[in-house]
Amino acid sequence: MWEYSERVKDHFFNPRNVGSLEDANAVGEVGSLACGDALKLYLKIDPDTQKIVDARFQTFGCGSAVASSSALTEMIKGKTVEEALLITNQDIADYLGGLPKEKMHCSVMGKDALEAAIACYRGEPAPKELLDGELVCECFGVTDKEIREVARENKLTTIEEVTNYTKAGGGCGLCHDKIEKILDEIRAELRQSQAKAAAAPKVMTNIQKIARIQEVIDKEIRPSLQKDGGDLELIDLDGAKVKIVFRGLCSSCPSSSLTKAGIEAKLQELVHPELVVEEVTA
């Protein structure tokens, strides 16, 4: 049995705003019988104030699916459409005092239904339909765009987390390689943006630069050299010239020029784009 919070249980056993809304002017529908959960969200939006004056739901699904739907309707009532769209799936989970991690996809379903309903109100296609992309998980019909979006928003890093939030990969498991590739791409993006942020203060003093270069060498470069029996030492920094000396097996290794290019690229990426590496004999 799952460990559900008291609020989840309360919203499951006493769901708020159940049913359909006769005069709804926005309806969002996500999920299916085959997937094991589905949510139909009805909103009544005042066209003058853009306020959500009433919200109802019908849900087929587990305890946390019902609770997430119930919580969502409570959270959006009285909000303007713009305010409501700021709600994230994490907000829904937080409102409920947390959800078991395997059930986070229920909160994502809530957010998706809300976006679909508002798109319906605005006469736009549902955002999920726009997320056409490439089908990654055939069992649950999840596309790469959808995985990317949820993974970025919730900072997901493992296949298991992606499954918990989107269900993708939770069926036959054949798409795990594809999900891993998407995660790799997201990680690479993240590294680049971090590197940019790190490289941003271009006016570093020489001492700061040396310290940063030393850090990158120690953390990113030496461990892999040492694995092959080599090593590297930072000798000096002269303007943009990083003077290094190879030690151990690297000093006689013909690929050291290759290694040098790799080190240069790393330092340019992580410290300063103008750095060049120069091998010296010590």
């Binding site: 139909k40 019908q58 849900t59 087929f60 699904g61 587990c62 699916a65 019902v66 059930k103 649950f140």
Partner: protein, 395 residues
């Protein structure tokens, strides 16, 4: 709150008689059965008695019983032993509806050890096609591993007949009897079955004790290697309290099997009829004829199993579901899927499994609650509203 326990295929209550029998072995009678002194020797005699009782329940001789840590260990022991004693045969025949103890082991053997697994399918009722079974077994088959009764649906397979087919090809026959032992009469003496796995906690003994029946004359390779216990067939100091308890449970099962199973069957049938007559859009999963007397698996359309379980739980009623949401994985029951149960019904499937300790009053209470629970969840569901409401008008 009172508990109405209808999840006996998951685990059972330890019988009070079993508890009494175990107690001294957790207290003053702590000797090691392998010891030379009287203190240990007297314990050894109790282990012997337990072995005799269990052998009696299965219609076999005590020398054919090996105590293990449970159903899973017994399954692994049997299958791996067969593969190593028949090294030239690289095929395994099993079904798509086995318990993970067999299913995942076979997947592992196929994926990492180079064995070919012939997966037998089942029909809508959960039954095997015996022609398909016959065709799958060949001189390349090392072991045929087919469960006696299914834990989710209670469907019973004709394993005695299949054992004959295996024997014709010199293949070994293993059956996972975890759900069958203690629930239906079993007599292995005149069968061609080589191995049978059973588990204590499914028949009112403790958890962590089980046994493997190993037919006399079957070549054997132990799974756990070490000391000389169990005649060199399963090393490790005996789980004496577990064994004594299992012996007692076997004795009780043997004594009361006939009378109890007919009483349990009539309660199960009462539950079945009660629910089916009051709840629309429900279907029974699994053959009505070849089924354990204690098991009832029902699929409720337009509702999801975990929601049903939560509502039952609030009333103190314990059952289980083949719904994806109740397991760690997102895949609904592989058993119901293999039977081709429509998705609309798999997610809303509930298994009730009874025991000798259930009463008619309990069953009647559950019947009275089921239609309320299903009704309230359907009222919340976006599906089938038109169907459900029109059905109500017809009624």
């Amino acid at each position: 709150m009172r508990v109405i326990y209808l999840d006996n295929n998951a685990t059972t209550a330890v019988a009070p008689e079993v508890f009494e029998a175990i107690k001294p072995f957790l207290q003053e009678r702590y000797g090691n059965p392998s010891s030379m002194h009287f203190f240990g020797g007297s314990v050894s005699r109790e282990v012997t008695k337990a072995r005799e009782n269990l052998a009696d329940l299965l219609g076999v001789t005590p020398g054919e019983i090996i105590f293990t840590s449970g159903g899973t260990e017994s399954d692994s022991t049997a299958i791996l032993s067969a593969l190593s004693t028949l090294p030239d045969r690289k095929e395994i025949v099993t079904t798509r509806v086995e318990h993970p103890a067999v299913l995942n082991l076979c997947k592992h053997l196929a994926r990492f050890k180079g064995y070919t697994v012939k997966w037998l399918s089942v029909d809508k009722e959960g039954m095997l096609d015996l022609d398909e079974v016959r065709n799958a077994i060949s001189d390349r088959t090392a072991i045929v591993s087919i469960m006696w009764a299914n834990n989710e649906t209670g469907v019973i397979f004709p394993v005695e007949q299949i054992a004959e087919m295996a024997a014709e090809h010199g293949a070994l026959m293993h059956t996972d009897g975890v759900q069958a032992v203690g629930k239906i009469p079993i007599n292995l003496k005149n069968t061609a079955i080589n191995f049978l796995a059973l588990s204590g906690h499914k028949l009112h003994a403790a958890k962590g004790i089980g046994a493997l029946y190993l037919r006399k004359g079957t070549r054997f390779q132990p799974f756990i290697i070490g000391g000389h216990q169990e005649h060199d067939r399963r090393a490790g100091t005996e789980n004496v309290p577990g064994i004594v308890g299992l012996g007692k449970a076997a004795e009780l099962a043997k004594q009361n099997l006939e009378e109890e199973s007919s009483r349990v069957r009539s309660l199960r049938d009462r539950l079945q009829e009660g629910i089916m007559s009051q709840v629309q859009f429900a279907r029974i999963n699994g053959s009505l004829n070849d089924r354990l007397p204690n098991t009832l698996n029902i699929g409720f359309e337009f509702v999801e199993g975990e929601s049903i379980l939560l509502k039952l739980d609030e009333l103190g009623i314990c059952a289980s579901s083949g719904s994806a949401c109740t397991s760690g994985s997102l895949e609904p029951s592989h058993v119901l899927r293999a039977m081709g149960v429509p998705f609309t019904c798999v997610h809303g499937s509930i298994r009730f499994s009874l025991s000798r300790y259930n009463t008619q009053e309990e069953i009647d209470f559950v019947i009275s609650q089921m239609s309320v629970i299903i009704g309230s969840l359907r009222a919340m569901s976006p599906f089938g509203q038109d169907k459900i409401s029109s059905a109500c008008i017809v009624q």
